[in-house]
């Protein structure tokens, strides 16, 4: 069996492990567009800060590839797929025949058309090479404007602040990280950023850029506000890299690649996993789990991917957030339990709908967060637990006895 994996990030690496659980013989070839072995993308901000050295970037040790008998073609792109001949063509002209193919091409930063924007006057914040470029210019005293105050923009902000750069965040929504934070939580975070000397402009975005003498940029926001900066970072989201499968009969593309419950794409022997998959939140845990399951299925298993609610842990400048499910929910259709301490910026919120936990948000107090995620994923009726859920001692023993007895022997 010949396995070809397009992409060399978290989904592909987990697919290698998944394949090898079932098949120790088949050949595995990984086509990696970047010139780096797989690294956890979220590490790039830690690298820029100097908290993670080059040597600690790899997601798996170098031996991983040899141990799993996987060869990696670094700096190569797959440009064409022939599903009938079952062959992928690479940008250097080589053709790779496959029996099973994984499309794990991930996403790329979305850069909107903005007047005056040219490839050399802005940065994105997704790849190792992005931060390598940023490192050269992010020196103390410089000024940066980051477009987008979601997780990527916030991590970019943190690493630049730690390098002594003065940061301004511009966010089109009315609050920071709107999909995860409700207005109250977002206000707590905004207050924290203000205390850290970070400027924040909400309900606003970039209208135009103009390079000035000396390399500085003149930026105009939609509101008419004008500012100058040395560095512009665009961090407003990613778009799936679907080109390889575009236009092929049998494949449905709806922003991402549509997959069946076994992560197959509709083309014989072709699977997809990670950020490229339609409807999949572009989050690392989801990519890892999908990659593992796709790998197993490529090697003959018949496992189903159970869609997983989004969950995220995000820390910056000492503030920690965990969000899961519909964490930003507000409104009368929900029962919302809350604990708030504005001084320590502790905020804990549970969102209940029709007896079920559908969202949770934790700022600066993350105790037993995973336990809530399990209740959410399993659709447990939390009505009998309502009074217990946010108590400091909440734990397994708060659950019905038959439940915790079972969990203890798992």
């Amino acid at each position: 069996m010949k396995y070809v994996l397009i992409g060399n990030s978290v989904a592909a690496v987990n697919a290698v492990a998944g394949i090898r659980e079932y098949d120790n013989e088949g050949s595995i070839t990984i086509v990696a567009a970047e010139n780096h072995y797989a690294y956890g993308r979220p590490l790039i901000s830690y690298w820029l800060e100097g908290r993670v050295p080059n040597a600690a970037m790899p997601y798996r040790p170098q031996e991983f590839y040899a141990q799993n008998n996987a060869s990696v073609l670094l700096g190569r792109r797959a440009i064409k797929l022939d599903p009938v001949a079952r062959e992928v063509s690479l940008d250097d002209g080589t053709g790779l025949p496959y029996d099973r193919l994984l499309v794990a091409t991930g996403g790329r930063p979305f850069v909107p058309p903005i007047k005056g924007l040219t490839p050399d006057n802005y940065f994105t914040f997704v790849n190792y090479d992005d931060v390598r470029r940023l490192e050269a210019v992010a020196t103390p005293g410089r000024e940066a404007v980051i477009l987008g105050a979601g997780p990527t923009g916030l991590k970019a902000m943190e690493s630049l602040v730690q390098r002594g750069v003065q940061v301004t965040l511009a966010e089109l929504a009315d609050r920071i990280w709107a999909p995860a934070l409700d207005p109250e939580a977002a206000a707590l975070v905004a207050g924290f950023l203000q205390d850290q000397g970070v400027k924040l402009y909400l309900n606003d975005t970039l209208a135009s850029v103009r390079g000035m003498a000396g390399g500085r940029l003149e930026l105009q926001l939609q509101s008419g506000r004008e500012m100058t900066a040395d560095i512009l970072v665009i961090a407003i989201g990613v778009r799936p890299n679907v080109e390889l499968l575009e236009g092929l009969p049998g494949v449905t593309i709806n922003r991402g690649i549509m997959v069946g419950p076994d992560l197959s794409t509709g083309l014989p022997g072709v699977y997809a996993a990670g950020d490229v998959v339609a409807g999949n939140p572009p989050l690392l845990p989801h990519a890892a789990i999908q990659g593992k399951i796709a790998g197993r299925n490529m090697a003959g298993a018949s496992e189903t991917y159970q869609p997983l609610s989004p969950y995220n842990a995000l820390g910056f400048l000492g503030l920690h957030i965990i969000s899961m499910g519909n964490s930003a929910a507000t409104g009368d259709e929900y029962d919302i339990l809350k604990e708030i301490d504005p001084v320590t910026r502790i905020y804990r919120k549970l969102v209940i709908k029709d007896k079920h936990l559908v969202g949770a948000l934790f700022l600066n107090k993350l105790d037993r967060a995973g336990l809530y995620r399990r209740l959410l994923e399993e659709g447990t009726d939390v009505t009998p637990l309502q009074d217990e859920l946010l108590q400091p001692h909440f734990g397994l023993l708060s659950l019905p006895e038959e439940v915790w007895q079972q969990w203890l022997v798992e």
């Binding site: 987990n14 956890g40 993308r41 979220p42 590490l43 830690y46 908290r51 993670v52 600690a56 790899p58 997601y59 798996r60 690392l284 845990p285 890892a288 789990i289 593992k292 969950y311 995220n312 842990a313 995000l314 820390g315 920690h320 965990i322 899961m324 993350l366 105790d367 037993r368 967060a369 995973g370 336990l371 809530y372 995620r373 399990r374 994923e377 001692h393 734990g395 397994l396 023993l397 708060s398 915790w404 969990w407 203890l408 022997v409 798992e410």
Partner: protein, 151 residues
């Protein structure tokens, strides 16, 4: 694989498992030094839950498909294919706490050691052989044994 199983009916709520866990994960392997010199108080990797008269020591279940390993952004959290032990390569951890959000038992707590992030989770004392919580449990409320799944 051999795992630690808690037997709540035998638990006396003495918290010795937490103390022994901390000592076993200290440099000195000495209670006084671990608490007073190495500043490891509060870094137990087992959580004694109390709902008196009931109490129970909760710790990592070393899952077959660990959510913490899947969620780890740096590759620090791994499952040893030979032993099945799920553990954190502490020098690779950046303290994002995705593992804390991932664990279906809430058995990973965010911690810190010498200014570095440290996910507090059971590693079955992989470096010493026998889990210290079990060895020191005065009433066999914790046992370390091989059981069939679901047994």
């Amino acid at each position: 694989m051999k795992k630690v199983y808690a037997r709540p009916l035998w638990c006396m709520n003495c918290h010795l498992c937490e103390v022994n866990c901390i000592v076993a994960h200290s440099r000195s392997r000495d209670l006084f030094r671990a608490y007073k010199r190495e500043n490891l108080r509060g870094t137990a990797r087992v959580i004694v839950e109390e709902r008196l008269p009931l109490s129970v020591a909760v710790q990592c279940r070393h899952c077959d498909d660990p959510a913490c390993v899947a969620g780890c952004i740096s590759g620090a959290m791994v499952k040893d294919p030979a032993t099945g032990i799920v553990y954190c390569q502490e020098d690779k951890c950046v303290g994002c706490w995705t593992c804390v959000a991932a664990c279906p038992y809430g058995a990973i707590q965010p911690g810190e050691k010498n200014g570095r992030p440290l996910p507090l989770k059971c590693d079955l004392c992989r470096e010493t052989g026998e889990p210290a919580c079990v060895a020191g449990c005065p009433n066999r409320a914790l046992v370390w044994e091989e059981r069939r799944a679901g047994a």
